[in-house]
């Protein structure tokens, strides 16, 4: 069984540019083992992407499960010209964006001014970003004020290390538009960081 799976995996890398194509075709034909292999291959990167995008470890496993359930149910509708990996990331990204929008609505309902609650923990203004309070906490705070789409682009590019072409295939944006969107997302991140620092400086005076 394992040998057969290994042979399929090796074959799939030679037959097409997309190393997942054969597995996808077998999964489309109803072979559960093929889908299991796809899951084994992508569960870690998708979990990482989801965790970094939504910044809520408690909800991450459920979201990952929902993403792969969606993927399985949409396998028949996969676009023939789009490789599996960007297609999977697109589904995962869109699912996380929906989650973030819903969560934002819930937060707004609970707290009419969520921005005010984010600046409660002081950050050392004299240190560089990398040396400041736990970087994860800092990114959580910075991300809280970013648009979900900006978060997605930044995570895809900076954490997942995807190329512009891959992100373009996922988002449907042209390369030029994508570069501009990435630049603006970085700017907004930087501006938000500056706002946070000035706010904390004022608070400490």
């Amino acid at each position: 069984m394992q040998t057969e799976s290994a042979i399929w995996t090796v074959l799939s890398t030679f037959v097409s540019d997309d190393p997942d194509q054969l597995l996808v075709e077998r999964a489309q034909a109803g072979e559960v083992a093929a889908f299991e292999q796809l899951y084994a291959r992508y569960q870690a990167p998708i979990s990482r992407m989801v965790a970094n995008l939504v910044r809520n470890p408690a909800d991450t496993p459920d979201l990952v499960q929902e993403v792969f359930t969606k993927v399985y149910m949409a396998l028949d509708r996969i676009q023939p010209n789009l490789p599996f990996r960007p297609w999977l990331y697109r589904i995962a990204g869109n699912h996380c964006l929906d989650y973030l929008r819903k969560r934002k609505r819930q937060l707004v309902r609970l707290d009419p001014n969520p921005e005010a609650a984010e600046h409660t923990q002081p950050v050392d203004p004299s240190a560089t970003p990398a040396e400041q309070v736990v970087a994860q906490d800092l990114v959580n705070k910075l991300f809280a004020g970013l648009k979900p789409r900006d978060r997605w682009l930044l995570i895809m590019k900076e954490v997942e290390g995807l190329t512009l072409e891959e992100i373009s295939a996922m988002t449907g944006m042209g390369i030029s538009a994508l570069k501009v969107a990435l630049f603006r997302a970085r700017r907004r991140l930087q501006r938000r960081y500056g706002d946070m620092r000035s706010h904390q400086s004022e608070a400490s005076v």
């Binding site: 990482r48 970094n52 470890p57 954490v159 512009l164 630049f183 970085r186 700017r187």
Partner: protein
Amino acid sequence: MNCREWRRRRENQPAGAGLAPAAAEHLRDCAACAEYERLRGWSGELLRRGALEAPPAPSFAALWAAIQRATQPRWELALSLSFRRLAPFLVALSLLLLLVGAMAPRQPNIAASSYTSPLLVAGPGHSANLAPDLSRQGDPEAVLVATQP
């Protein structure tokens, strides 16, 4: 190398990759690209340092069970869900009916009836009242003749 080309190449390089001589030369001469590079480096470093460890993903068995639930026919799912929601109420209703049944009297209460028998009113000496009065029905043959077409 123009700015557009330079940025495109830079974006497709892995994190921490060095610059080719031509790219480094462009960076020295172009203030806009130098600013772009600073921003790119800063955000990349910050986000990579602040990246979260992903919690373990669910097992394939759990995923497969979720898929089975999701691919179940909608009416079947709705039925099972509605039954699950209704089950406590059905149990409560059954218990209530049992309770009411247990508390109800086992024999009918005669005294509560409002009906008064004519025998009780007339008394034992008036048994003739129970005989049918056949004289009011008339002659059966005459009735038959009258109903014939």
